[in-house]
Symmetry: none
Subunit: 207 residues, 4 copies
DNA sequence: CATGAATGAGAGTTCATTCAT
DNA sequence: GATGAATGAACTCTCATTCAT
């Protein structure tokens, strides 16, 4: 059946394919955000789309696969920003504060993605978005941390535990930030101070 | 309703009831650990039991309800220990190091509970056990933190953000500890040092 | 285990048995009226009782059996009245009018029984209570009709079709009576006139 | 949603859909007739079909919904016939006898539909088919009766009670007709005579 | 005989996935 | 490649009934 399609037709098709794929991912993001991953069905996703149910399977094998794609997509948005921030940093303070500020900023402006998966999830009363992308981003962070250790900017401590601590604080504090609608700036200051000087260095509370 | 069953009969029944309830909870713990909460079905749980399917519903209305019970049960095990640790503390260092040590100790010895919910959960590649009990435990922690702030042992900073930071570090670092089979003592030292003095105070890495 | 029970104890037991049986029947009447026969479960019935579920089976084998008992009980209330009415009749007019009046009177005063079984019954938008008792009552009616035919008071027509007509009118008109809250007297007059003289004899409408 | 399926494809699909829907309705008619409405399960219906269980739910939401569809279908068959009969009538006798004859004829030839719902229904030992259609049909009848009253062909009596009487006789007598396999003609004569002249006018019994 | 928890068949329903069109 | 109805395994949950106490 593959007959002669002129270039234009072929181009059109590629376009449709790409846009269908994107339509599914976008629908998935919305539906996951509303219903949570567990409660979402493939049907829910395609229903949030102009496409037919069978079409889903031309693009993804399962709900899980579209979830991965969603994650990857998010990755592409955050990681470069985080990376750029750290590269620009001229000392450890800039390194750590730039990272937190960028991350909290992202969370605030993309709260759909972050807030996602909270509804009807007894297992996730507090949320962790742990998409591969973000993970990959933090992997980069670890690599950068190792460099910092080598350069003597950071003591020769366990980089994975340090990583874990940063990640833990980042997510948990981001959650608190959203819950209480705190300013990105203040939240980043708090996290930065903690890492730079411990509890004794924490900023005075507001209000 | 209850007319004249002798005490013995009543006793026997209560016993069976309690043991059935416990059997379901135990099965649930195992199955949730293996399949993850989302993927687990009520059937999976009763199949892991020698009870009949209908019996499940004599004890719990839904999967969610067993999950809650499971959480409550865990709560009863950890919270008192954490509380006792903090009450015994004579200064902030003891407060913070006692808490981390106790928590990591619990996680290590009850790793089934902690490791639970990791398989088949694309949405939870890293785990957060956020059972009501643990939450309640951390609520107690917050209360204790507020006291510490009042007493001037801790600067007058936002207690919720501090809470969030401790929780974030506790879970994320515990995860790392399990993954790499680190010693409870070392892990607790790391977390404690971070909170007391920030990154600069972190202990030297081992090996 | 059948030991010596004095007469008093035996009497007490009989009493309890009878009262339990009655309690179940009464509960069934109420529950059937509320939920309709089809939707009612044995559980619903015992729940409307002070008894335990197992006890139900000491008295009845099934929902159907208790339904039958309910019917029989009703029978005992209506049939004698209808019979007495017909025996007292000195001509066919008294026969027919007495029957309708008595039946409509019963329906009006025991509307629970009659109105029963209407809720949630797609198959019974209009109701027919066709309990054995009432049937038995109409069987007596047929016998009496045959006597009337023998005596030449009623033409030698098919007694079963006549029976059916009387029953059909009785139930359907009773339903209308309840729906519009008509007077027993007027309703009985209508039905009587129809049977005595056909449509041309029907009374003028009210209001 | 529907992009570019050619007309042929669409046609084929519509066809299958229609025929599946009909298959379910037909199966439902048979099964309801055999088991009665209450005892019938959705599974029973699809089992009487060569469709898969899930397919049922593509067409109907519940047992009740098929039942409604079944009723509507029957409606389309009887009502026009009854209406036509009454319109053709030139006097009240033709009106009433035409109606009964048509109705009894329908019942006789479609006894599956009528006999339906008799088995296993303690609550319906005598049947009333009171499908919306038939109801609607009798609503038309009432309207026609009101016209007859206005025209002076029928005395100014309560039309709803007259309606109820006709309906009651129609169903109850039809039941008797089926039970004893009476002729439509004779049965219609009986009912007609009753309404035209009362008991005194009833035809002599056969046999 | 009363009790009420255990039982398990089976009802209703959903949903990922296939496949003819 | 898009479509969307068909499929049927599997799930949740109910309920009549049994039976140890």
């Amino acid at each position: 059946m593959s007959v002669d399609l002129d270039a234009k037709t072929r181009g059109k098709r590629e376009e449709t394919k790409a846009s269908n794929r994107q339509a599914i991912i976008d629908a998935a993001r919305r539906v996951f955000a509303e219903l949570g991953y567990g409660a979402t069905t493939v049907r829910d996703i395609i229903r949030a789309t102009d496409l037919a149910s069978g079409t889903f399977y031309n693009y993804f094998k399962s709900k899980e696969e579209v979830f991965q794609a969603l994650q990857d997509e998010t990755a592409l948005r955050v990681r470069p920003r985080l990376r750029a921030e750290r590269i620009r940093a001229r000392n450890f303070e800039e390194f750590i504060s730039g990272s937190f500020r960028t991350f909290f900023d992202f969370v605030k402006n993309d709260r759909t993605t972050f807030a996602t998966m909270r509804s009807n999830h007894p297992e996730m009363s507090r949320v962790r978005i742990d998409t591969p992308e973000v993970i990959a981003g933090f992997d980069e962070l670890r690599a950068d941390l190792e460099v910092a250790i080598e350069n003597g900017v950071v003591p020769d401590t366990d980089p994975n535990l340090l990583m874990a601590s940063i990640v833990g604080v980042a997510f948990e504090v981001a959650h608190e930030m959203l819950t209480r609608d705190l300013a990105v700036e203040d939240t980043a200051k708090f996290a930065t101070a903690l890492f730079l000087g411990g509890v004794q260095a924490l900023p005075k509370r507001k209000a």
